[in-house]
């Protein structure tokens, strides 16, 4: 359900596997987050994790999404360690009977990951290394679900 990996992953293969063999699911939604540049300059990222901790924290939160949106299944693949510009950082997959629940659960899980999952993102941009912290917008996004 949750996979942390320090190597690039194949989002297409993950989606194919996730959607395979389903008979009652009518909708699979996906979100893929990429390491992007700032002001035209690509920035490398480093994702720090507390070994053994994010998996259990994220899994507990995924359970709330499964209950709230009546999901059939959900999967999160998240990179840790060094990430090059343009590489995928995170993939969220949700499966439900209808599209609305699948879309909303994807959105909900991403809002959680941005400020509540025990991961720390360091950006190596033109201005030197910088620890990224959640923005007011990230907290406002999370607040939409309360």
């Amino acid at each position: 359900m949750i996979r942390l990996t320090d190597a690039p992953f194949d989002a297409g293969a993950e989606l194919t596997r996730f959607a395979e063999g389903r008979t009652v699911t009518g909708a699979v939604a996906s979100f893929l987050g990429l390491a992007r540049g700032e002001a035209g300059a690509p920035a490398a990222l480093e994702l720090e994790a507390y070994a053994g901790f994010p998996e259990s924290q994220i899994a507990a939160f995924v359970e709330t999404a499964v209950d709230r949106f009546a999901l059939h299944d959900a999967r999160i693949v998240h990179r840790i360690g060094a990430i090059a510009p343009g590489e995928a950082i995170v993939l969220v997959l949700t499966a439900a009977t209808h599209r609305r629940a699948a879309f909303e659960a994807c959105d909900y899980l991403m809002d959680y990951l941005k400020s509540q999952a025990p991961l720390w993102k360091k950006e190596f941009g033109a201005g030197g290394p910088r620890w990224v912290e959640p923005t007011a917008r990230d907290f406002a996004d999370l607040g939409r679900w309360r």
Partner: protein, 81 residues
């Protein structure tokens, strides 16, 4: 022996991220005092808004008793996704 883990900017500030103390603090509050006595800037950063603590991989709030050999993590605001 209490093991202390620091993450993100807290580790950069302290200059270490994993340390086992010879002291055996009885509570989380005592541990904070020990860390602050050794490094005032770190002590202040640990008490700042948004910094969370986990004891043996469980998020905690406020003060609580620590068992011998506890693993305590101090975590700045999280930024995954």
């Amino acid at each position: 022996m209490t093991r202390v883990l620091l993450f993100g900017r807290l580790a950069d500030l302290a200059g270490w991220r994993d340390r086992t103390l010879t002291a055996e603090p009885g509570t989380l509050g005592e541990l904070r005092q020990i860390l602050a006595a050794a490094d005032a800037a770190l002590g202040e950063a640990l008490g700042a808004a948004g910094v969370r603590a986990a004891v043996d991989k469980v998020l905690v709030t406020g003060d609580l008793a620590l068992t011998p050999g506890a693993e305590v993590a101090f975590m700045p605001p999280m930024s995954g996704g």
